[in-house]
Symmetry: C2
């Protein structure tokens, strides 16, 4: 048994910190397929998973169209003939390559941030030195303040 079977639009909005407008937009774009009770939308836990995937995709720089493509492909694959399955496998390979690229990007960014931080700290140290030279009398007061 799952935690919960169905969700309202505002529950999901709160949980994932998106607006209801966005959720309705995702439905409009056919990334979510809530059922209805009267007019009000009822989201399944499958929808919830999909929303999570949509948002992760966005953080990873995917467009909604790309994410939808993946959803659709996966749905097709499930009821899949051989061609669909093989197609999915090659697509998975491509996505893996994309992820590798992103990991490289992140590693690069981390290295650059390391050097940036180092330079910042150097510059700060320089400023501290100058201060001491200009006002050595304050040393004691400043040292306690540095905590």
């Amino acid at each position: 048994m799952d935690i919960k079977q169905t969700y309202s639009i505002s529950e999901l909005a709160k949980e994932f910190d998106v607006t209801t407008r966005s959720i309705r937009f995702y439905e409009d774009q056919e990334l979510l397929r809530p059922t209805r009770r009267g007019q009000t939308r009822i989201f399944s836990s499958k929808d919830r998973v999909r929303l999570k995937l949509i948002l992760r995709g966005k953080r990873m720089g995917f467009s909604l169209a790309e994410t939808k493509e993946l959803f659709d492909l996966w749905d097709e694959t499930l009821s899949g003939n051989e061609k669909q399955l093989l197609k999915m496998l090659t697509i998975l390979e491509n996505k893996r390559a994309q992820l590798e690229q992103q990991k490289n990007d992140i590693a690069q960014a981390e290295m650059e941030m390391d050097t940036a931080e180092a330079r910042c700290r150097e510059a700060l140290a320089e400023l501290q030195k100058k201060k001491k030279q200009q006002a050595p009398a304050n040393e004691e007061a400043r040292q306690t303040a540095e905590n």
Copy 2:
């Protein structure tokens, strides 16, 4: 000595596989600051680095505005007083947190792709079995074709 000192717009466009239109747009948004000889733009190796950073930023899901903000901040920091330097350090911390989030996202995505691939291969195996049962006479021909 660097490889090269200056670059034309089309050189950069080719190297990084973007249109000249994009590069001009980046200049318009003040992410690049080429000098001019007459009318034609001359890009420095600093501009080249920046272009590389812009594109990496895009792959990481950053908007141009965010990237510009970082550039500006870094420029300010270089001529920096203490406040600027400290601000930069906290911003670096935040960015590191973002990168951590992205690494988690990627790890999750990789796991999901693993299970997706496994299911694909299972489904394929199922199909193969069925085929064999339906047409065991063809086995030899198919096996050579599977190469």
